[in-house]
């Protein structure tokens, strides 16, 4: 029962988590404290590497409930992306589908280090980031399948998820564009004195974009609370980082802007880095975080991901550095959960995903009149036309 209290306070996704075996718990006599204020201090996998700044400590404060929620959320994200893979192959998802499995620790650690008043903006690999910001599975799958209950009402697709009320500004298809946009969000936060920061995520491929440096220059000049986060999964589509960047030390690319290199497969390191970055940005302006991470899937569903990487490399990362496995080991070694409980969590999560997909499949496609909605906020009653102007002619609201 203590365990269920711990979990319900930390995770809003895990409401059904402990119901099946809460009765079993009483027989186990586990040496876990029943209050939710237990703290644990765990060391990150490796120390942080810093550029033009002092690194934060590698001792991270966490709690059993936080670690459990990390496990559950990452397992949910993992399952969600794998199920999306199947839906794509079944042709229920069309066009683009960029999957995040392997990189879950970045999304989850960032949530632990920020509030919903902080803003996050990312590129097209956005399903898990959206989930972390409070999006629901049904919204995600409906959007992916182009249905009315999608977070963008079916009009955006995989690359265009948004959740403005919890500071998630998308979901962008043009590589690198989200970084100046993120600096603009930070400008807004400073202008309105909101005491919050923006995390603008981009990949190692986007790290070479000129507009990134233009935006970083302005952010540094104007002291904007912008944190640029390079999710370095070492491949920009099919091009390895060493073939695209003369200097792949992305955390140093800011030159006069401080940077931090973080093990992006260690959710606690990500959390620590984000807390550090937020504090820094509010006082001193922009900072670069480089998350050393990895994606198991190819760039997108059109890319097998094995023509430019060896299968050994992929399975090697899965064995040595998988973010979920890392947390599983921590939970087991600290006696926070048993193997069976964690396996049951994974089964729960799988069921949740399956139910969400079933529900999303029931969502209808958008009404044809939705073709013409949201072109403008204020349409002044102007006319818009369909493919045959004599046939389809509407007045914009």
């Amino acid at each position: 029962m203590a365990l269920s209290r711990l979990c319900s306070s930390s995770s809003n996704i895990g409401s059904n988590f402990f119901k099946p075996f809460s009765s079993a718990f009483f027989t186990l006599n586990r040496p876990i404290t029943s209050d939710t204020t237990t703290t644990l201090t765990i060391e990150t996998s490796i120390p942080f590497t810093a550029h033009n700044t002092d690194p934060p400590s590698r001792s991270v404060t966490t709690s059993p409930s936080e670690l459990l929620s990390f496990f559950r959320t990452m397992a949910l994200m993992r399952r969600m992306e794998i199920a999306a893979d199947s839906l794509y192959k079944a042709k229920l998802i069309r066009g683009f589908c960029h999957l995040y499995d392997g990189q879950e620790a970045v999304a989850v650690g960032m949530e632990a280090g920020t509030t919903k008043k902080d803003c996050i903006i990312t590129a097209y690999r956005d399903h898990c980031t959206f989930l972390g910001r409070g999006g629901t599975l049904v919204e995600i799958y409906s959007e992916l399948m182009g249905r009315r209950d999608g977070c963008s009402k079916g009009k955006g697709g995989s690359m265009h998820f948004y959740k403005k009320d919890s500071g998630f500004y998308g979901g962008h298809g043009i590589v690198g564009a989200q970084v100046p946009l993120g600096c603009g969000l930070a400008f807004g936060q400073k202008y309105l004195k909101d005491e919050s920061v923006t995390f603008a995520l981009y990949g190692d491929g986007a790290a070479n974009q000129g507009q990134l440096f233009e935006a970083l220059n302005i952010a540094a000049l104007w002291d904007l609370p912008a944190i640029l986060v390079c999710e370095n999964n070492h491949y920009g589509m099919g091009t390895a980082e060493w073939r695209a960047a003369k200097s792949p030390a992305y955390y140093k690319r800011g030159d006069y802007v401080p940077g931090l290199k973080v093990d992006g497969m260690d959710v606690l390191a990500v959390k620590q880095a984000c807390i550090f970055a937020k504090e820094h940005a509010l006082k001193n302006g922009p900072l670069i975080l480089e998350m050393d991470t990895y994606r198991y899937h190819g760039h997108s569903m059109s890319d097998p991901g094995s023509t430019y990487r060896t299968r050994d490399e992929i399975s090697g990362v899965r064995q040595e550095r998988d973010p979920i496995e890392r947390v599983r080991k921590l939970l087991l070694s600290h006696d926070i959960a048993t193997e069976k409980e964690l396996k049951d969590t994974e089964k729960e999560v799988r069921k949740e995903v399956d139910e969400a997909i079933a529900k999303a499949k029931e969502s209808p496609v958008p009404d044809p009149s939705d073709l013409f909605t949201n072109v403008y906020v204020k349409g002044y009653g102007v006319e818009a036309y369909g493919a045959d102007r004599k046939e389809v002619r509407v007045t914009l609201p």
Partner: protein, 360 residues
Amino acid sequence: MLGVIRHKTVRPTFSAFRHFSSSTKQMTVRDALNSALDEEMSADPKVFLMGEEVGEYQGAYKISKGLLEKYGPERVLDTPITEAGFTGIGVGAAYYGLKPVVEFMTFNFSMQAIDHIINSAAKSNYMSAGQISVPIVFRGPNGAAAGVGAQHSHCYASWYGSCPGLKVLAPYSSEDARGLLKAAIRDPDPVIFLENELLYGESFPVSAEVLDSSFCLPIGKAKIEREGKDVTITAFSKMVGYALKAAEILAKEGISAEVINLRSIRPLDRSTINASVRKTNRLVTVEEGFPQHGVGAEICTSVIEESFGYLDAPVERIAGADVPMPYAANLERLAVPQIEDIVRAAKRACHRSVPMAATA
């Protein structure tokens, strides 16, 4: 003197009263834009201005003169020469809820930022099904100036005019400049505001209504600058002045031309244009930019689609020459429309360019 001489007919517009007032104030387009910016920044603390030289230099064309002193460096921001970066930042600020006015020193430089204008600004409200609106204004001089050469003379009216999600405005007079800029800043959608460098110093009469801080013109509505019955001439920006002069010359030859100042490229006021053509049965479109896929091409098609039976002559199109803008003054003169080109086209539309008895 542009746009001041009018028919002394009573028209159901406010400007008719101007004839009866004893003193009409004159205002340059520059001052009109400056005062509009000033008033909107004063009214709404979320409005801010950013661009190259807008602050300490008082504006490359002095449009933002005095604003830095009045509103401070937090609201009037000098940017580095990095259009892609600062435009993206402006759009991001608009996402967050601020109301940026982004100045391009000329719209030629907007090409460096066009991805943010189209993909980050114009399409966001649609892609997010209404979650992310972008209340931003992109403004600056557009089209040909004088002797600035090919890279600095491009007209972007049809480029931006083709993109759903954008509103594109092109003021001519000081009244247009004030009313449309205020409307653009208040508008919740991304607006492209195409000014003209050569018009900045032109003076136009402005009424008390125009000078009032609440003055605003509707977006999507053209203005009939001069009423006529024989031929419709559409124009925007500087070409409105040329069209009005052409109309005077035509009047002396017995052709009564109706001059329409488009004011709004997108949404295009098709109903005003078509109503005019249904009255006059002849159309000449005038623009400074390149003809292919231009504004005139769209107007022509709109009239053919909606008013084909009313046309008594093919639609005539006057546009810039199909060449990059040359530098030499005589070549430059040949590359942009002149008043005589508009007159000639109007006469052709009225079947007056060739004597009727030619085919005997």
